[in-house]
């Protein structure tokens, strides 16, 4: 029978030691974008994982060489599209460092303001998607997701009022920021912060009093202190493993030195510890936003006059590296300028990329269901991994 010969039977791979190779992604409900994990299973237990990345590569670093200093910030926001504000900030900070350009105080405050709002928005999306990974789109996870998205929307409304955009903002520019706060924005922001602060209590009540959530999160995907240092994870992952490393504190940039905030540290290193770190970060970010609104100085928002052509900003020859604490960890940008209107070279250091490198160390030995829980707790954004 020709038909029968043409049939291709999927290799089940139950020979000998009963191992099954299963492909998760790049098209998978919990792939968080386009992550591909090739799992080797023995029954339900994962014994090896082969992580494949690169499905979202868009030549970002090459693009940066072909776009001027005025054009690129809005493209930089597409590296980490979930937290676009911080990606822009990294790029313009690098340009300002190499070009030795001053930034007015009001602009510095506004940069901190949007960076912290962005952290809250990004953590909202993380909480929702992580719970959805554990609870399913047809279960309690979806409930948390919809709640968290509701709060993220409120912050996106603030950004829309500020910049006119909801995802990729183009808010930062070399020498300052592009937009000043519109009338009534401060009050709206304060109301939103009060509302979000109340909701975070609600999430904690819903999750931490829930035994099923705890058994899924506690003791799962433990990153030891040594492993965290060896692999070089950053952001909530390293703080969840007992190391209080936060660029905002160790090397304050912009105007972070002016504000009072805590850097949460958890010792356990499991998914629950990372969850706790982010929940405290929600509150600390709200605290910083309130301090910025209270202490916002008057003055210009940019040290440079508005440009009339895209090639007008020129940076003298030199090179420099800046790093900031994004929602996912340390985000870096290395810039080489040759005196023209475009960078000579640019290198991104994505937080998600180095965080993802820890997966092959912690996934083997856990169950299939834990793979998605661990993936979610790492909170990768593939725009930033593949660039």
């Amino acid at each position: 029978m020709a038909d029968a010969e043409a049939r291709h039977v999927v290799e089940i791979g139950y020979g000998g030691n009963e191992r099954l190779v299963m492909n998760m992604g790049p098209q998978h409900p919990s792939a968080h974008g386009v992550f591909r994990a090739i799992l080797t299973l023995e029954g339900e237990t994962v014994i090896a994982v082969d992580a494949v990345i690169g499905y979202l590569h868009r030549c970002h670093e090459k693009l940066a060489e072909n776009l001027t200093y005025v054009q690129y910030p809005s493209i930089a926001s597409k590296t980490d599209y979930v937290a676009a504000m911080t990606a822009e900030l990294t790029y313009v900070s690098a340009v300002e460092k190499v070009g030795k350009i001053d930034v007015p105080r009001r602009a510095q405050y506004l940069r901190v303001l949007v960076a912290e709002l962005q952290r809250i928005a990004s953590h909202c999306l993380w909480l929702g998607t992580w719970c959805m990974d554990m609870g399913g789109a047809l279960g309690g996870g979806a409930t948390v997701f919809l709640y968290a998205i509701r709060e993220r929307e409120m912050i996106l409304d603030l950004f829309e009022a500020l910049t006119g955009a909801r995802l990729l903002y183009g808010f930062h520019q070399v020498g300052g920021v592009r937009y000043d706060l519109p009338a009534g924005w401060t009050e709206q922001c304060r109301r939103t912060m009060d509302f979000v602060a109340g909701r975070i209590d609600e999430y904690e009540a819903m999750l931490e009093d829930n035994a099923f959530f705890l058994v899924r999160a506690q003791g799962v995907g433990v990153i030891s202190r040594d492993l965290a240092l060896d692999v070089g994870v950053c952001g909530p992952l390293i703080r969840g493993s007992g190391i209080g490393y936060d660029v905002r504190r160790t090397e304050p940039y912009s105007s972070y030195g002016d504000f009072d905030f805590k850097v949460p540290v958890e010792m356990a290193g499991d998914c629950y510890a990372r969850y706790r770190v982010r929940m405290v970060e929600f509150r600390e970010s709200i605290k910083i936003v309130r301090q910025v609104l209270d202490g916002l100085p008057e003055g210009p928002i940019s040290s440079r006059p508005g440009v009339k052509s895209v090639g007008q900003v020129r940076i003298p020859k030199g090179e420099g590296y800046t790093r900031i604490e994004g929602a996912r960890g340390e985000l870096g940008c290395y810039l080489v300028a040759d005196g023209g209107a475009k960078p000579y070279r640019l290198k991104w250091r994505g937080a998600s990329f180095s965080n993802l490198a820890v997966l092959p160390h912690i996934i083997p030995g856990c169950k299939i269901a834990d793979v998605v829980a661990i993936m979610g707790s790492v909170d990768p954004v593939f725009g930033e991994v593949d660039r």
């Binding site: 043409a6 049939r7 291709h8 039977v9 999927v10 089940i12 099954l20 299963m22 492909n23 998760m24 998978h28 409900p29 919990s30 299973l41 029954g43 339900e44 719970c131 959805m132 990974d133 554990m134 609870g135 399913g136 789109a137 047809l138 279960g139 309690g140 996870g141 979806a142 409930t143 919809l146 709640y147 509701r150 819903m206 829930n210 099923f212 959530f213 058994v215 899924r216 169950k367 299939i368 269901a369 834990d370 793979v371 998605v372």
Partner: protein
């Protein structure tokens, strides 16, 4: 009317009612979930509040292309939805909706229900195996694990009212629950409530709902055993799942909540209404749990069953038997 005609007619009516009930229970669940998640739910198809949505869904599924994977085991793959559906519908044969209203009030009603409902695993496994898909295979593996583990506590919990009544006939069990606090859920202090709780938990697992829906587990296994199904076959699987869910809700209402008993239940229709109401309460409790918990892992699910639920239901059953025997001795 000859009994054969009567039974065929009653069966046909029940089957029709069942399809309608299942369709509208999905709407109820969607509205309920939407309320929990501060959404609106189905709204546009049919005014008011999208009441035509289930019909639109049915038509959509019927019109979909039926895809059979090249590598599938055709016979097993095509038969699986039927093998899954038949036991799930058959459980309704023995359910009395009101005194005298039902297809067949068997004297072994509870036994029949439990035996037939545990047959659904055959269809599930056929679907998972026949699809020749790794996600489906792992899901089928989990299904066998889970259903075998939870059928035992489910049966033991369901046997508590049987022991209390001394009959396997469902209508007799209902009649034994007359009185203000006669429902079996209130029986003997803690025994009744605990047995009902154990029954609910085992129900969740038997229905494969969150937090026990590791068969479907769409964040890990995409859609589990039904990942390759589309069109009418998918619709049949959905129908079977919901029919099973409603069936177990009916059983819960009959065994623990006094079935059709309630004010005015001497009229058949009022009694049937009470019964549906109680069954929907059980269904909504299960739905409520579903939309507020996260899924737990397969090893944790098995641990709950073997280490907690099974000993608990066994002890409950023994305690019930002991109390009933004592009462019998005292009476004699």
């Amino acid at each position: 009317m000859p009994p054969l005609v009567h039974h065929v007619l009653a069966g046909a009516i029940l089957l029709g009612a069942l399809v309608g009930l299942v369709s509208y229970v999905t709407l109820l669940e969607r509205k309920f979930a939407a309320r929990m998640q501060s959404r609106i739910g189905p709204y546009y198809v049919g005014w008011p509040h999208g009441w035509l949505q289930p019909i639109a869904d049915g038509i959509k599924l019927a019109l979909k292309e039926d895809v059979v994977p090249d590598a599938a085991d055709r016979w097993v793959y095509n038969l699986a939805p039927l093998a899954f559906l038949v036991p799930c519908v058959l459980i309704f044969a023995t359910i009395p909706f009101a005194p005298g209203l039902g297809v067949a009030d068997l004297n072994i009603g509870v036994l029949f229900f439990l035996a037939v409902s545990s047959l659904e695993i055959v269809g599930l496994f056929m679907g998972g195996w026949g699809s020749n898909n790794k996600y489906a295979l792992i899901s089928a593996m989990r299904a066998v694990n889970q259903i075998i583990s939870y059928d035992l506590p489910f049966i033991f919990a369901a046997l508590v009212p049987v022991v209390l009544t001394g009959s396997l006939r469902l209508s007799a069990i209902v009649e034994a629950q007359r009185g203000l606090f006669g429902w079996h859920v209130f029986a003997f202090g803690v025994i009744g409530p605990l047995a009902f709780l154990a029954f609910l938990v085992a129900t969740l697992a038997a229905e494969n709902r969150v937090p026990f829906d590791i068969l479907e587990a769409e964040s890990e296994l995409v859609a589990g055993f039904r990942v390759e199904y589309s069109g009418m076959k998918f619709a049949l699987i959905q129908l079977a799942e919901y029919a099973h869910m409603i069936g177990t809700s009916f059983l819960g209402a009959l065994l623990f909540l006094g079935g059709w008993l309630g004010p005015g239940s001497q009229h058949v229709l009022v009694g049937a209404l009470w019964f549906l109401l109680k069954a929907m309460v059980v269904f909504l409790v299960v739905t409520w749990v579903r939309w507020s918990f996260v899924r737990i892992r397969v090893d944790q699910i098995l641990a709950i069953s073997w280490k907690l639920l099974l000993p608990l239901t066994l002890v409950l059953l023994m305690a019930t038997a002991f109390v009933v025997a004592l009462r019998g001795a005292a009476g004699a």
